[in-house]
Symmetry: C2
């Protein structure tokens, strides 16, 4: 397995699709190294009214450090698929291009470029697979988590989902994307360690089961973690669990220890929370918080809130970290400009939006989003231009590096969500769609592309 | 970002849930280090008749190398959540226990332990989150891919899904899990490099769009990759693309270059494949293979095959790498034995299967699976015992290390799928369920647990 570990998962350029390399060999052979513009965007996705743009920090970091190591070049050689001239070329391959992007945490809609890469064709082409892998998942999860935030109406949410996230990187990125969208903390230690997200967590059912009785488990935990006492009360019976908490509280209080909360992880959460609240209140533990978890998503959160269940905190896991109702978005990374010409696919009646673009966002007098206009990047229109420079010549622009922090993205997201028109702040499917218009120039270019493609 | 990269994603013990650490501190404080048995299993999952056990190699490798590095201990300290005595304890923490498992690639059913950990309680507890993260996803994808294999009835399948897999590790593991289940190759270079899976791939639409016309794109690619000529013919119009392939073929043949295949990635794939086949055949290219891709899953593959579409290869992506119809399984890792006593959760009418268990699989005279029996591990029954030792005292048992190779798992999976009863080889939901019975002793232990839990 030593050989396997030579390849660093997070940084290896071999985390790509083979066709990126086969295409590159041909591009280099024919000197096709002129400037190209690729755009990464999402097509329409069921169950989502909007996207939260995410992954820009990871993408920029990856692009800055992209290079082939000797054992990676060796692999290319071993495949027998590439010329030595091309392998030599890849030894010095770097990303030297520009990246423009919607700011991380900002709201985006279908067809709007999230990322724009302006670079020599082989560079812009090569980065496709991993760039998509980074932006797609983080945007997917930030968008899902934002729906949970809207549903929770201010009740704090914690991400518990690492175990069933799809691999470790997903667990890590889910922690970041959920926090970006407004969650208060993560159970994933590495998420906390890497991104400075507050960590959260206390005990599993196994902890209770490993003790001969529930009382003992509760008391031992509380004395071991006097500042972080949240007790899991549903291993056997929620009401009995709550009564044991009430019995234990005075003994702990005598030693200055407060029971901060209880967690309920199964059954009818609203009913169980009510029963527990009643018992805790009757026992004088009116400040002890009730945290619920277990199979929650935005719809179940909305039900709990609508039901007025006495819930002070929410843990979400698999449904959010896998975006279970829409486990992937219809993401695309397309060549829209090369060698002085707009480009785009036209087939089966669908025509891409060609050219390098800009998004102009217009807000009403109350600060709510009113309309987006997608135009060509040289056009000037009213509204805030959303796509801004982030990297130049392969490096993050120093003045923009602070905008890439998670805290900046999280603040931006909170503001952006508040600015959503009310019909986008609900979970229900809508007949009204947020208006994203195309400029006259862009429509003209699209029509010309269609004509050219049909004639070709 | 330097600080961030200190934490190795694949190996960091901080890729865990915080509660594993909080629980451990209490276990150590109270000397709760006796032998425990945890079992990892899947509960019933909609849309799946069976699971393909996967992830054992990754899990064993991770367990063998599990240890805290100084900066990881520093993080623990910085949180302020842990005692110095506990942090010191974790500095020497290793996994020293045993792991038994169903062999990778074998078929498994709900409630059957895939992995059994026998170790001091803190060790067995600590590994929960990442062990689940490893086994859950790889089993999820191997199970999904096996359904595609059944649907494809021998037509080769390639995994294209990395870009929309959930992070890089998912893309990498999907490559492995799909190959394990019978796919022939992967587009993911790192999957190929790490696991010796044949790589596959040629060109994207961007390659065609970067040229001024399709002919030129085809010819340049073919001459650049004379041994790997598969041309993407649907950028503008499939029929015109196919005719261009026919026109190009003699020019290439004059230089000894064969067009191995064409790929169609959009539209009505069956109809497009038929049109292309007709044009290729009429042009004498009867050996040129047709590969289709674009939004495929096992159901769409089954339709294409039932339709008799002339398809020689299939590319699958997002639907498989995210297991889109069931993006997570109801996986569990539960304490079933500790300090000489069977353990298990009993709440809301559900009682775990306690105790350390074994699965006995019975086959009929034709080699088809007939019935599984879950029993306690000391029981002796007819049938093949599926749970076998894999690690002892924290190390893979040398004689078993060859069983952990991907090729061994792939062969095992192919045999296992052939041995599935016919009603499990279809995609449709079934009223008949594969019989998984519980031994009398296990039922008795479960009843006692229920009684004890209710009385407690």
């Amino acid at each position: 397995m030593t050989q396997q570990k030579m390849f660093n998962l997070e940084q290896s350029p071999l985390l790509t699709d083979l066709y990126e390399l086969t295409m590159l060999q041909t591009y280099y052979e024919h000197g096709m190294t002129g400037e190209s513009v690729f755009e990464l965007f999402m097509r329409k996705t069921p169950n989502r009214h909007f996207f939260v743009a995410a992954g820009m920090e990871t993408a920029a970091d990856w692009l800055e450090n992209l290079q082939f190591k000797p054992h990676e070049l060796d692999w290319m050689k071993q495949t027998g698929l590439f010329s030595q001239a091309f392998i030599d070329q890849m030894a010095t391959f770097r990303f030297t291009g520009d990246m423009n992007a919607i700011s991380e945490g900002e709201i985006a809609f279908p067809e709007e470029p999230l990322i724009q890469i302006i670079a020599p064709l082989p560079e812009a082409q090569f980065i496709e697979s991993r760039l998509m892998n980074i932006i797609h998942y983080q945007t997917l999860i930030a968008s899902k988590a934002a729906r949970c935030q809207l549903a929770a109406q201010g009740t704090p949410i914690v991400d518990f989902g690492m175990r069933r996230a799809h691999g470790g990187e997903a667990g890590l990125w889910a922690a970041r994307s959920c926090y970006l969208a407004g969650f208060t903390s993560t159970a994933t230690c590495l998420g906390s360690a890497r991104y400075n997200i507050p960590p959260a967590g206390t005990m599993a059912h196994a902890f209770i089961l490993a003790h001969d009785n529930e009382d003992q488990a509760f008391e031992r935990f509380a004395r071991s973690h006097p500042d972080n006492v949240v007790l899991l009360i549903d291993t056997y019976n929620v009401e009995r669990g709550a009564r044991r908490v009430v019995e234990l509280a005075p003994r702990l209080a005598a030693d200055g220890i407060t029971i901060h909360g209880v967690r309920i992880d199964s059954g009818n959460l609203a009913a169980n929370a009510r029963k527990a609240r009643q018992i805790l209140d009757a026992g004088g533990l009116t400040d002890t918080r009730i945290i619920v978890s277990g199979g929650l998503d935005e719809h179940r959160i909305a039900e709990l809130i609508a039901d007025g269940a006495p819930i002070d905190g929410i843990g979400v896991g698999s449904n959010v970290d896998t975006s279970a109702d829409a486990p992937f978005l219809d993401s695309a990374y397309k060549l829209h400009y090369f060698n002085g010409k707009p480009r785009g696919k036209h087939a089966e009646g669908k025509t891409d939006l060609p050219g390098q673009k800009q998004i102009f966002r217009r807000k009403n007098a109350h600060g709510y989003l009113e309309e987006d206009l997608i135009a060509l990047s040289h056009e000037i229109h009213d509204g805030e231009a959303l796509i801004a420079p982030l990297m130049r010549n392969g490096k993050v622009i120093p003045e923009h590096s602070t905008e890439l922090t998670l805290d900046a993205a999280r603040n931006r997201c909170a503001t952006a969500i508040q600015g959503l028109p009310k019909f986008l702040q609900t979970l229900k499917s809508q007949s009204t769609v947020y208006p994203v218009k195309l400029s006259g120039e862009l429509q003209k270019m699209q029509a010309e592309l269609k004509e050219r493609a049909t004639a070709d």
